[in-house]
Every structure is written in C-alpha cells, then in structure tokens.
Symmetry: C2
DNA sequence: TGCATATTCAACCAAATGGTTGACGTTTCG
DNA sequence: CGAAACGTCAACCATTTGGTTGAATATGCA
C-alpha cells in the first residue's frame, strides 16, 4: 500500500538490491570475510580457515555475499577464488547518505571524494 | 576463532551496533519509514497509516529502528513522536567506506563533504 | 465519569536464517 | 589408476524474523 521505493518507481527493483546488500552486511561473519578479502583474493578454504565453523557454512556465506554482488567468485582449476567487489556498496552508500534524498547529482561528487580519499588517504601509502 | 572486529579489539562492541544498524536497514518497510521521517517527525499512528500492515507490526519496526539508534521516540501526552537520528548511520558509513581500512582521518573529510553536499545540493533548496 | 484515541503487550504462526552432517562431483597429483 | 584436496548439495535442526490477533494500558476530552 505504500511505495516502498520512496517516491522513485523507476528504481523499484533496487529495493531488492538494497535488501540483499544490507542483510549481507548485517552478519559479522560476512563482514569479517569482506575485511579479509580487502587484503587479497582468497580461495574458499582459506577464507574458512580462521573461523570456528564448517566449510559448508562459509560456502553459504560466500554465496550470500556473491548474490548481493559484494564479491565475485571465479573457479580456476579446482580452487574457487573470491574477490571483493566494492562497487556493490555503491547503491547502499547512495541510499544511506541522505536516505535517498540527495540523488544522482551528488553521487558524482561523492565518487570524486571517494577516489581522492582512497588515493591520497594517509592509510593507503 | 576469528577476530570479527577486524583487528581492532577496542571497538569490539561496535560489531553489535553494526549488526543492529545493518539489519535494521535490510528491511524495505523500515527504510521506507526512515524516508518518511526524513521529511518530518511523526506519531506512530501516522507512520503506520500508509502501510498495509497492522499498527502493532509498525510499532515493532519502530522498536527495531530505535534499538539500532536510527530513530528516537519521545512520548508527549498520549502520542509517541518518532524522530530521525541520522548520526546512527555514522558507524555504518565509516565501516562501509573502505571496509574499516580508511580510518577516522578520512571521516573528517567525509563529514565536510556531507555537510557541503547537504547544504548546497540541488535537491535541498 | 465515561468513552474514544494512541500505543504496546502476549501469544501465536509461517517462513527465513545460520548452522550441522554426510554424501557427492571435480580436479590434481603420486 | 587411485587417493587426496576443493567445494557444493541435500537434508535436517534450532532460532530469529515479520507478521497476525485480541486484550491491556495510558492519556485526552466531553
């Protein structure tokens, strides 16, 4: 009965994308996995190693992250490599900063800001 | 077995805060509520009005948003007013932009950016 | 006082989530 | 070839989630 896409029917399907991204990020195990992948691409087994849970459980988590677009998985030989896809955070970022009220226009400035921050930030030598 | 706070035990309890914020944002009904509250403070009944679900359900959603710190609720008379608390998105923002790797330093620049974007943005006359 | 309004509480329900285990395909390698 | 490593699948389980309804609790107002 309410327009859940808050006034912009053109991007209605995005609501599902936001659901997926936010609920993927809601789990601490999955956030930890993303942090690990920030340092380097990893195989599924290596991702699972530090956790106190089964490989199958980690495999599921990776599936959820992949469905949300937060990572990509490429099988080379018998090992499946997991790679961070930070762009997926984009839609979520856009939504968060202003709850969808500061639309695409500001997004450009945001991109510029992010690029500069990532390139010149004191924590990225 | 893994350090879920990704290397900074000092902010370990924040993991719970992130859980709450992200899972609060994962629901489209709750995101719609936040969008509504962006325009103005509202009473519980008024928040519920456009949705096709019971008042009790909305009351629960508001409780979740409140527990996550995304809104505050103040009872005046017999009506309980709901107010957006955008600061709660702060920790989530910090985490998202660089998965916790570009720390407080960039945050300042981010705040400056946000203030300017909100103040001068073409969608905020 | 008494009634309508505003909101929550309690009990219940179906479905989704996060985990387990064991069996199963692939690929690599001795 | 045969065994080991890599990863997923299927079935199962306990808990959480998102919703319902009906009763209960304040508060405002005639």
């Amino acid at each position: 009965m309410v327009d859940v896409s808050h006034g912009c029917r053109l991007i209605a399907p995005m609501s599902t994308a936001l659901d997926q991204v936010f609920s993927a990020l809601a789990d601490p195990t999955r956030r930890a996995i993303l942090s690990m992948l920030l340092e380097d691409d990893m195989a599924v087994t290596d991702v699972a190693e530090p956790f106190a849970m089964s490989l199958a459980a980690i495999s599921k988590h990776l599936g959820i992250l992949s469905a949300a677009g937060l990572i990509s998985q490429e099988k080379r030989g018998r090992v499946k490599w997991c790679k961070l896809e930070p762009d997926a955070l984009h839609s979520a970022s856009v939504w968060m900063h202003g709850f969808g009220q500061m639309a695409p226009l500001d997004l450009d400035a945001f991109e510029v800001f992010l690029k500069q921050a990532l390139g010149e930030g004191p924590n990225r030598p």
